[in-house]
Amino acid sequence: MYRLWQILDRANTGPFCEVEDFNKKIFMPKLKEVIKKYGIKYDPDHPVSDDDDVADRVWQAACELFLEVGVLNVDTHRRIIIEESELKEALYHAPGRYLVGEGKDARWWQDRCPEDSAPPFCIFSGDITCDEEIFLPMTVAYCQEPLADGVCASILEESMGLKIKAGSPVELAGVTEHAMSLRQAAKLVGRPGMFLVAVGTALSAMAQVAVSNDQWGVRYTDARLIGGLSELNIENDAMNKIAHCMNYGCFIGNLTGSIYGGYAGRAEGVAVLETAYHLMGLTIYQANFQQSFPFHLHFTSNSGREMLWLISVTHQAVSRNSRILSTSNGFLNAGSGTEMVLYEAAAHGLTSTVSGGHLWETAVARNKTRNYATPLEARLACEVGHSVARQGMTRTQANEIVNRLLAEYEENIATAPQGKMFQECYDLKTAQPTSWYEDMFGEVKKKVAAMGVDFVY
């Protein structure tokens, strides 16, 4: 913890810089420079890269970028700069293995490498807001998934019928309801000690602090996400959350999504930046894991060819060069109840797993519309992840399969079907998928198996 105070102090004493200058004069030129210096080049034929050298060059570029640019505190207008020796120290001390959750439901979460035969750690999450009435059945549906090592619930927009407003007492009511219902769902499925990442309904630091409770709320065996601002920015509120989580003792996930088409530009820049975010998470957010969701500016998704390439390269860069744990968060174009979304889920789970990542599955329907997500999409991504790890699939084989998966949906990305709501795909009473969606799942799984995935079951 001693490092935390040193680092937070730099938010008040580091070099002064305005955000516009930071983007234009510091971040963008340096990123351009390292892409050139390390010869990083997007390869459309390899949505799953099998090139160790490119992964290592991306890692080096990310280190250079991060050490030189630092992170801008947008409240104090100062750059937090990390020394090389501090980065090395942090990397050396990264444990690479945590026991999360508690009792019989506790799980080891361990670092992986590309083509690792150990399966990825799987967090199930729809990453979307939902109606208050369906929060419990929807969360039960996620918690009961056999491959779920952890769950992050949907987000509430209302509490007791009142619209939740950030920073208001209704936010406090909403986050309490969220935390308690999530805990209840885990208990209802017989997994009371399950590792939970919570609570997404809490925007303010105040609301995050309010749910830290060992009985009904977020336990210290659970985790919470603290977001970074785009790109390489941090705010005081996030630092309050960091200090609280460290004191309380829960795990911290640093939530970052570099934007394809944003200040980082295209695939090469986003790969370098997203890798650099892992260093920011480790040193500044004091994160125990990175929650990584690079996304395409126009589509808010990451299942396209260029996105898969940069996901594969980022996770290989990180997993080959450090023990940092990182979840690869799917952002899919199509919605639940469509074949397209299942192919996208398979491609995302496969690419991330063979690249050494862990899985956080999955946002669908461009992560835009209330109630649009179900655990079935996540199930396919994670079943694919487990299976390809167990069968020892190489990146070269994975690339062939991902190219075939892409052929199923690539052309339809811009016009992806919105699909259906959770309550149309699941029976709310039993929290089970409807038979038509389960049949569709089975059909797509068969086709994915025929492409070369040996499903464990």
């Binding site: 955000v19 983007n23 234009k24 963008m28 947008v74 807001t129 927009e157 619209k163 939740i164 407003k165 950030a166 920073g167 936010e171 309904t201 925007l203 303010s204 977001g227 601002l229 785009s230 705010e235 934007i259 394809y260 088409g261 944003g262 200040y263 980082a264 530009g265 295209r266 500016l297 126009h298 808010t300 835009k368 209330r370």
Partner: protein
């Protein structure tokens, strides 16, 4: 290529130094300042369209906008001296509402507005409702734009309209709201004026407003 064409190309490519060189050349050649600005604006519109079609992205847009600004700086003395008395298409106060840190969408809109000749005062994110209004009064804005990406911060868009009404200045501004969860019914429910569904649509709407208030002279 004429110097005028080279100027437009330099702006589109984000070549700041070239843009300055060529703008000096066209001034030397004696072109009407109104025509120079019109060519530059057309060039930037092409940049905006290319962004919409995903042919280019934010970094290229930032560079083009910078080159445009550099060229406009050279033209400033001429614009001020010109009888046409050119003014910005409209003054916009914009920000992301209180409690919300999502800025990318708003930043794109800001850049596109600037590129299209609007005067923009960007208040950043986590902006208190009253601060929007105070700034709008201070700079005599025509338009207030508020971004909210979350259901939990959207109420602040309603608050903005309400406060404007209570302060008796609702009719002084066109209120446009945006952000992924915003919809036309929400615009109507809270009594805002328009919905900036995406950057291109927002520009289209606000150009219409500029026309209406008689500020579309470029």
């Amino acid at each position: 290529m004429s110097n005028m064409e080279s100027l437009v190309e330099a702006v589109k490519a984000g070549e700041e130094e070239d843009a300055v060189t060529y703008v000096k050349a066209v001034i030397e050649e004696g072109h009407e300042v109104v025509n120079i600005v019109a060519s530059l604006t057309d060039g930037m519109r092409e940049v905006g369209d290319a962004f919409g079609k995903m042919e280019l992205f934010l970094p290229e847009m930032v560079m083009a906008a910078d080159a445009m600004t550099a060229a406009m700086d050279e033209l400033k003395p001429l614009i001020e001296a010109s009888a046409a008395g050119m003014v910005a298409k409209g003054t916009v106060v914009i920000g992301t509402v209180e409690g919300d840190v999502h800025v990318i969408g708003k930043e794109i809109v800001v850049r596109m507005l600037r590129a299209n000749g609007f005067e923009v005062h960007d208040l950043g994110y986590n902006v208190n409702t009253l601060d929007f209004i105070k700034k709008a009064i201070e700079v005599k804005a025509d338009i207030i734009g508020a971004s909210a990406l979350m259901s939990t911060t959207m109420p602040n868009q309603r608050e903005l309209v309400k406060l404007l009404t209570e302060m008796g200045c609702r009719d002084d501004y066109h209120v446009i709201i945006g952000g992924a969860p915003v919809t036309q019914p929400w615009v109507e429910e809270i009594g805002a004026d328009s919905w900036g569904e995406n950057a291109a649509k927002s520009i289209e709407i606000l150009e219409g407003i500029a026309e209406k208030i008689g500020k579309n002279n470029v």
